[in-house]
C-alpha cells in the first residue's frame, strides 16, 4: 500500500495539537514553531497530491489517493478517504489557510498553547470533511469542527463574543440535527454510508416509502446554514465579526465552503432528480442571497462586518452555479469557493491587521491610511478588486464561469432571469468594495494614525503568497478548472445537463 497521503494531511495538524497540549506552559515560541511545522507539512503533502493527481480525462469521477478500512462493521461504516477534482482544490485551500492562520497569529499572547491546539484541531476537522467518503465519518468531522470554533470565538474573540460563539454552536447543531436525520434516512433506506456508491447508484437504492425529496431537504438545511443561504445566514456576520482574525479567515476561507461542497457532493449527486425539481426554489434563494447580502453590506459601518456580509452575497453565486446544474456553472461554483476562500481570507487577514495596528474597526473613524500603511493598502485593494470580480483575479474567472455556465444552462427553465438578476450583485459589489477602500485608505491622513505600523516581514510573506495565488488562478484558471471538471463531469452526467 502506498503512503497514506490523505491520512497524513488530515491528521498531522491534530498530532501537532496533541504534542502542543502535552507541552508545559511557558514556551510560547516553541508552540508557534510546532504549529507552523504541523501545518506546513500538510500543505506540502497537498501540493504533492496536486502534482501527482491524474488529470487525464479518464480519471473523471474516480476517487484518487483513496484509503478504505473497515471502521464499524455492524453499521457498514468505513474509514474511507479520497479526493477527486471537486475536493482536492478545497483540501489545498484549507492546508494553505492553515499555514496562514498560524503565521498571522504569531503575535497572539493570550493562552497561546490552548489557542494553537484549537486552531490545529479546526484544520483537521475541515480537512476531514473535504476528504471523507463515508457519510458517518463525514458527519463526525463536521461536528468536531464546532468545538474549536466555539472556543476560538468565545475566548479570543471581541465584541459580543460569548453571544456570537453560542449562536454559532446552536445554529450549526440545529442544522446538523437535520443533516443527521437525513444521513440516517439515507442509511436506513439504502443500507450504505458510502458516498461514492450512493451517488453512482443514486435513487435506485432508495426502496422504502420515504420520499427522496424529504431526505433532500433534511440534508440541504444543514449545508444551507453553513454556506449560508438567506434567511439562514444571521449567525455568519456575528461569528465572523467577533471571531479573532485567524478564526474569521478560517471561517470565511474554508469553513463555509463545507456547505457548498456538501451540496454538490451529497445533495446534488445523490438526488439529481430532486435537485432539478426544486432548482427554481434554490435559485430564488441564491439570487436573494446575492442581492440581499450586497444591500446589507452597503449598510455596515464595521470593517469586519462589511466583509462578512459580502460573503453572504458571494456565496449566493456558488448556490446559483450549483443549481443552474450545468457543467460550466458547477465548475464555476467550485472555482468560486476556492477563489472566495483566497479573496475573503485575505480581506479578513488585512482587516484583522488593520484593526490590530490601529485599534479601530469603525469605518467612520478610519481614513487616510494609504499614506501611513501603503503595503496593507495595496494588498487590501487587490483583495477587494478580486472580490468585485476584476479580470486577472480569481474572482473574475470564477464569477464569469458561473454566469456563462448558468445563463447557457439548459437544465432549468428561466435560468437566464436568475442569472441576470445575480449579475446586478457585481455592480453592487463594486459599490461596497470601493466605498470600503475609500473609507479606510483615502482622504486626508489622520494624525492619530501617524505611528501605525505597516506590515512586517512575516505578514508580507503570506500577503505575497495570497496575491500570487489569486493572480495565478485569475490569469490561468485552467490550473484548477482542469481538475475541477474531472470531479464535476460525472455529477453533470447524473443531472442530465
Amino acid at each position: 500500500m502506498s503512503f497514506p497521503y490523505l491520512t497524513a494531511i488530515v491528521f498531522l495538524p491534530v498530532v501537532g495539537a496533541i504534542i502542543i497540549a502535552l507541552l508545559g506552559n511557558g514556551r510560547p515560541r516553541l508552540v508557534k514553531y510546532l504549529a507552523a511545522v504541523f501545518t506546513i507539512i500538510p500543505l506540502l503533502l497537498a501540493v504533492i497530491l496536486f502534482a501527482n493527481f491524474d488529470k487525464s480525462s479518464a480519471a473523471a469521477g474516480i476517487m484518487q489517493f483513496a484509503e478504505k478500512t473497515s471502521w464499524i462493521p455492524t453499521l457498514n461504516a468505513f474509514y474511507h478517504l479520497g479526493v477527486d477534482g471537486l475536493s482536492l482544490p478545497l483540501v489545498i485551500l484549507t492546508t494553505f489557510l492553515g499555514v496562514v492562520v498560524v503565521l498571522l497569529s504569531w503575535k497572539e499572547q493570550l493562552r497561546v498553547r490552548q489557542y494553537f491546539v484549537w486552531l490545529l484541531l479546526l484544520e483537521t476537522s475541515i480537512l476531514g470533511v473535504f476528504s471523507s467518503l463515508d457519510l458517518l465519518l463525514f458527519f463526525v468531522f463536521w461536528e468536531i469542527e464546532i468545538i474549536p470554533m466555539y472556543f476560538l470565538i468565545s475566548i479570543w474573540g471581541s465584541g459580543r463574543k460569548e453571544y456570537s460563539a453560542m449562536k454559532y454552536v446552536i445554529y450549526t447543531l440545529f442544522g446538523s440535527a437535520f443533516m443527521l436525520a437525513g444521513i440516517l434516512s439515507l442509511y436506513f433506506t439504502t443500507g450504505s454510508l458510502d458516498m461514492v456508491e450512493l451517488s453512482q447508484k443514486g435513487l435506485g437504492m432508495i426502496q422504502t416509502v420515504m420520499p427522496a425529496a424529504a431526505i433532500f431537504f433534511l440534508l440541504i438545511i444543514g449545508f444551507a446554514i453553513k454556506l449560508p443561504v438567506v434567511p439562514l445566514h444571521t449567525w455568519l456576520p456575528d461569528a465572523h465579526t467577533d471571531a479573532p482574525t485567524a478564526g474569521s479567515v478560517m471561517l470565511a476561507g474554508a469553513l463555509i465552503k463545507m456547505g457548498g461542497y456538501g451540496i454538490i457532493r451529497i445533495v446534488a449527486s445523490i438526488f439529481p432528480q430532486v435537485a432539478r425539481d426544486y432548482a427554481p426554489l434554490l435559485l430564488t434563494l441564491a439570487v436573494i442571497s446575492v442581492l440581499y447580502g450586497a444591500a446589507l453590506t452597503l449598510r455596515q459601518n464595521d470593517l469586519k462586518r462589511m466583509i462578512a456580509y459580502s460573503s453572504v452575497s458571494h456565496m449566493g453565486f456558488v448556490l446559483l452555479g450549483i443549481f443552474a446544474l450545468g457543467e460550466i456553472s458547477l465548475t464555476g461554483a467550485a472555482l468560486q469557493m476556492v477563489s472566495h476562500g483566497l479573496l475573503t481570507g485575505l480581506l479578513f487577514a488585512m482587516a484583522g491587521l488593520m484593526i490590530h495596528n490601529t485599534h479601530e474597526r469603525d469605518l467612520r473613524k478610519l481614513g487616510g491610511l494609504a499614506r501611513q500603511v501603503p503595503i496593507i493598502a495595496v494588498v487590501f485593494s487587490i483583495a477587494g478588486l478580486g472580490s468585485l470580480g476584476l479580470p486577472t483575479t480569481s474572482g473574475f474567472a470564477a464569477e464569469f464561469l458561473i454566469f456563462v455556465g448558468s445563463f447557457s444552462s439548459t437544465v432549468v427553465n428561466g435560468i437566464q432571469v436568475f442569472t441576470i438578476l445575480a449579475v446586478i450583485g457585481v455592480v453592487l459589489a463594486a459599490g461596497y468594495i470601493l466605498w470600503m477602500i475609500q473609507r479606510v485608505f483615502y482622504g486626508p491622513p489622520k494624525e492619530q494614525y501617524n505611528s501605525v505600523k505597516d506590515a512586517d516581514v512575516l505578514e508580507r510573506v503570506y500577503m505575497v503568497a495570497f496575491v500570487a495565488l489569486i493572480m495565478l488562478v485569475g490569469i490561468y484558471p485552467a490550473i484548477l478548472t482542469d481538475i475541477i471538471k474531472l470531479g464535476v463531469s460525472p455529477i453533470v452526467g447524473l443531472l442530465g445537463g
Binding site: K167, I170, Y171, V230, P231, H233, T234, W235, Y292, A295, L296, L298, R299, G326, E327, I328, T331, G368, A370, R371, L385, L390, P391, T392, F396, A397, F400, L401, F403, V404, G405, F407, S408, Q416, T419, I420, V423, I424, V426, V427, A430, G431, L434, W435, Q438, F441, Y442, G443, P444, P445, Y476, P477, A478, T481, D482, K485, S489, V492
Partner: protein, 640 residues
C-alpha cells in the same frame, strides 16, 4: 511581419508596468524619473511597431493580418482562445494609442511635480504614476487587439481600473477619491449590460469570437430580438465608457485626476474605447434597426446636452471634459449614420486635438497654479507656444477648414442629414455651441489682463512651460492640422473598406462644390467664434447680462441639469442606501435574526415553564401516568 512583433506592442508597456512595480518602486528613491524613462522607451518602440503594423495592414489585401491563437481555458463546451485581431480598425487605434500615450508620458516628465499645490515632494510618486500609466496603455492596447468579446471585456475592465487609480491619484483629496469611485461604479453600471450581452450572445451562438459573431449577424443567423438586446447591451457598456447620456456624469468629475491623465485616458483613448467597441461590433447594430437608432439618438442627444453644459463652466478642464462628451456623441452618431469610417475618422482626429487641449490646460495650470479661468487672462504674451498650440486645437475642434476637425465633422454632418434629419438640427446647434465654448475658453485664458492666478502656488508670475512639455504639444498641434488630410483623398474611408480614393486637391477644395453643407457649417462655427469674441474679448456684450436674461437655462446648465443630484442623492443615498437597504437591514435584525433569537428565548421560557411540572411529587407523576395510559387506550380503541 512576425506575429511576435504585434504581441510586443501590447507586451512592452505591460513589461514596463511590471519592471516599475516590482523593481523600480521598491529600490529606487521616489524623486527619480527613471520610471518615466522606462515607460517612454517602451512606448516609443511600441509606437514604431504600431506604424509598422499599420503599413503591413495597408499593404495586405483585405486589410487584415492573421495572428495564431493561444488556448486559455477549456471547460465542457466552453473553449476560450486568446487571440489578436489585426485589421484596419486595430491598426489605426494602435497608432493613436501609442502616439498619444508617448506624447503624454514625455509631457508628464515636466508637468507632474507641479500638479497640486498640497502635494509634498515625496507624494509626486513618479513610480506609481508611470506604473499605472504603463498598465493603462497596455490594457488599452489589449482592448484594441482583442479578437473576442471576452478578452476585450477583460482589458475593458482593466482600463477601467487604471482610470479609477489615476483619477484617484491624489487620493488624499476626498474629491479625487469620490470621483474615482463614481467613475468606476457608473461605468460598471454600463458594463452590466455589456456582460449580459456577452452571456446572451454566448448562450445563443456558443462563441465569443468577434469575427464569428459579426459573420452570424451578417448571415442573418443572429437576428431578431436576441440581436437587438445584445447590441443594446453592448452599447450600454460603450455608453458607460464613452460617457454617453445618461451615464456621462462621471467624466467631468474625473478631471480630479492629473491633467496628463485627462489628456490620455479621458480624452483620447479610454473614453474612445466605447466608440471603438461599437465600431468593432457594428454589423450587429446594422442588422437591428432599433439598436442602430438607439445609438444615433443617444449620440445626438449627448452631443448637444454636454455642449450646453460646457457653455457655462468656469473650470478650464471641465469645459474641455464636456466638450469631450459632446464629441464622443458625435462619434456615436457618425457610427450609426455613416459607418465605421465616419465615426472612427472623427475619433482619430479628435484624439490629437483634444489631447492637445488638455495638455494646453495643464500648461496653463503649470503657470498659474489654477484651473479656474476667472483667475487667468492675458497669457498669450507670456505663453506664446501654449497659446499657438491651443489656438490650433481650438480651431480644429470648432471645425474650421482645413484643420482636421473640419473633415471628420463634415462627414458626420452629411451622414446625419441623410439618415437622421431630426438629429441634424441638434447637431448643427452643437456646432455653434462648440465653437462658442472653446473660444470662450481661449479668450478668457489668453486674452485681456492677467487676473493673478493662484497666489499660493507661484501663480503671480506666469511663465512659459519647459520644452519637455512644449515639444509634445507642438507634435500634437501639427497632427491637429494634418491628420484630417488622410481622408481628403478618401484614403481613410477606403482603408476602412468604404468608398474610393481621389486626388488630394480635388478633395481639399472640391468639398465645397458638392453641397452647401460645409459652407453652412463653417458659417455657423464662425458665428460661434465671433459671439465668443464679442462677449469675452471685445466685451461688446456683457456676459453677466446674458446670464441674467437666460437665468433659468443658465442655472440648469450650471447645475448639470441636476442629474448628479438625482443620481447621488435621490436615487443612491435616499432611495437605495437610506431607504430600501435600510429597510432590509431592519428586516434582517428584527425579523430574520429576531426570529432566531425569538426561538432561542422561546425555548428558554418554555424550558422554565416545563421545569415547574417536575415537582418531585410521586403522586402527581402517578396521576399523570394514569391519565396518559387512559388516553392511549381510548385513542387505540377509537382509531384502531
Amino acid at each position: 511581419m512576425p506575429s511576435q512583433a504585434i504581441w510586443l506592442i501590447f507586451l512592452l508597456p505591460a513589461f514596463s508596468f511590471v519592471i516599475i512595480a516590482f523593481f523600480v518602486r521598491p529600490f529606487v528613491k521616489p524623486a527619480s524619473k527613471i520610471a518615466g524613462y522606462i515607460t517612454i522607451t517602451a512606448l516609443a518602440v511600441a509606437f514604431v511597431l504600431s506604424l509598422w503594423t499599420l503599413a503591413e495592414v495597408m499593404a495586405a489585401s483585405p486589410h487584415e493580418i492573421a495572428v495564431p491563437e493561444i488556448s486559455w481555458l477549456v471547460v465542457g463546451d466552453l473553449n476560450i482562445q486568446v487571440g489578436l485581431m489585426v485589421d484596419s480598425l486595430t491598426a489605426v487605434m494602435l497608432v493613436v494609442v501609442t502616439l498619444v500615450s508617448l506624447m503624454v508620458q514625455i509631457y508628464s516628465l515636466g508637468y507632474m511635480q507641479h500638479e497640486v499645490p498640497d502635494a509634498k515632494p515625496g507624494d509626486i510618486g513618479y513610480h506609481r504614476y508611470y506604473a499605472w500609466m504603463s498598465l493603462f496603455t497596455a490594457s488599452m492596447l489589449g482592448v484594441v487587439l482583442a479578437d473576442s468579446l471576452l478578452l476585450l471585456f477583460v482589458f475593458w475592465e482593466l482600463v477601467g481600473l487604471c482610470s479609477y487609480l489615476l483619477i484617484g491619484f491624489w487620493f488624499h483629496r476626498p474629491s479625487a477619491a469620490n470621483a474615482a469611485k463614481k467613475a468606476f461604479i457608473v461605468t460598471r453600471l454600463g458594463d452590466f449590460g455589456f456582460l449580459a450581452a456577452i452571456l446572451l450572445l454566448f448562450a445563443k451562438t456558443g462563441t465569443f469570437d468577434i469575427a464569428e459573431l459579426r459573420g452570424l449577424a451578417v448571415a442573418g443567423t443572429l437576428a431578431g430580438t436576441t440581436l437587438t438586446w445584445a447590441a443594446i447591451g453592448i452599447f450600454s457598456g460603450a455608453a458607460g465608457k464613452s460617457a454617453q447620456f445618461p451615464l456621462h456624469i462621471w467624466l467631468p468629475d474625473a478631471m480630479e485626476g492629473p491633467t496628463p491623465v485627462s489628456a490620455l485616458i479621458h480624452a483620447a483613448t479610454m473614453v474612445a474605447a466605447g466608440v471603438f467597441l461599437v465600431a468593432r461590433t457594428l454589423p450587429l447594430f446594422e442588422h437591428s434597426v432599433e439598436a442602430l437608432t438607439t445609438v444615433a439618438i443617444i449620440g445626438g442627444i449627448t452631443a448637444i446636452f454636454a455642449a450646453s453644459m460646457g457653455l457655462v463652466m468656469t473650470d478650464i478642464k471641465r469645459v474641455i471634459a464636456y466638450s469631450t462628451i459632446s464629441q464622443l456623441g458625435y462619434m456615436m452618431l457618425g457610427l450609426a449614420t455613416g459607418g465605421v469610417a465616419v465615426g472612427i475618422f472623427h475619433l482619430f482626429n479628435h484624439a490629437f486635438f483634444k489631447a492637445l487641449l488638455f495638455l494646453g490646460a495643464g500648461s496653463v495650470n503649470h503657470a498659474t497654479g489654477t484651473f479656474d479661468m476667472r483667475q487667468m487672462g492675458g497669457l498669450r504674451k507670456v505663453m506664446p507656444w501654449t497659446f499657438a498650440t491651443f489656438l490650433t486645437a481650438a480651431l480644429s475642434l470648432a471645425g474650421i477648414w482645413p484643420l482636421s476637425g473640419f473633415w471628420s465633422k463634415d462627414e458626420i454632418l452629411a451622414s446625419t442629414l441623410e439618415k437622421q434629419p431630426l438629429l441634424f438640427v441638434l447637431v448643427m446647434i452643437t456646432v455653434f455651441m462648440t465653437a462658442f465654448y472653446i473660444f470662450r475658453v481661449l479668450f478668457l485664458t489668453f486674452a485681456g489682463e492677467y487676473k493673478g492666478g493662484n497666489p499660493e502656488a507661484h501663480g503671480a508670475h506666469p511663465h512659459e512651460s519647459p520644452q519637455v512639455m512644449l515639444v509634445p504639444m507642438v507634435v500634437l498641434a501639427v497632427l491637429a492640422v494634418v491628420s484630417g488630410f488622410w481622408n481628403v483623398t478618401g484614403g481613410f474611408s477606403a482603408f476602412m473598406g468604404e468608398g474610393e480614393t481621389h486626388g488630394f486637391f480635388t478633395g481639399l477644395f472640391g468639398i465645397f462644390t458638392h453641397s452647401p453643407l460645409p459652407l453652412i457649417a463653417l458659417a455657423v462655427a464662425g458665428l460661434g467664434i465671433f459671439l465668443a469674441y464679442a462677449i469675452y474679448s471685445a466685451k461688446w456684450l456683457s456676459a453677466e447680462l446674458i446670464g441674467s436674461i437666460f437665468k433659468p437655462l443658465y442655472t440648469l446648465f450650471l447645475h448639470k441639469y441636476f442629474l448628479d443630484e438625482l443620481y447621488e442623492n435621490i436615487i443612491v443615498r435616499i432611495s437605495l442606501i437610506g431607504g430600501l437597504f435600510a429597510g432590509l437591514e431592519q428586516i434582517d435584525t428584527n425579523s430574520v435574526d429576531g426570529a432566531v433569537n425569538g426561538v432561542a428565548s422561546g425555548t428558554k421560557v418554555g424550558g422554565s415553564a416545563l421545569r415547574k411540572v417536575q415537582t418531585g411529587q410521586l403522586q402527581l407523576y402517578g396521576l399523570m401516568m394514569g391519565i396518559g395510559i387512559v388516553a392511549i387506550i381510548l385513542v387505540v380503541y377509537f382509531v384502531g
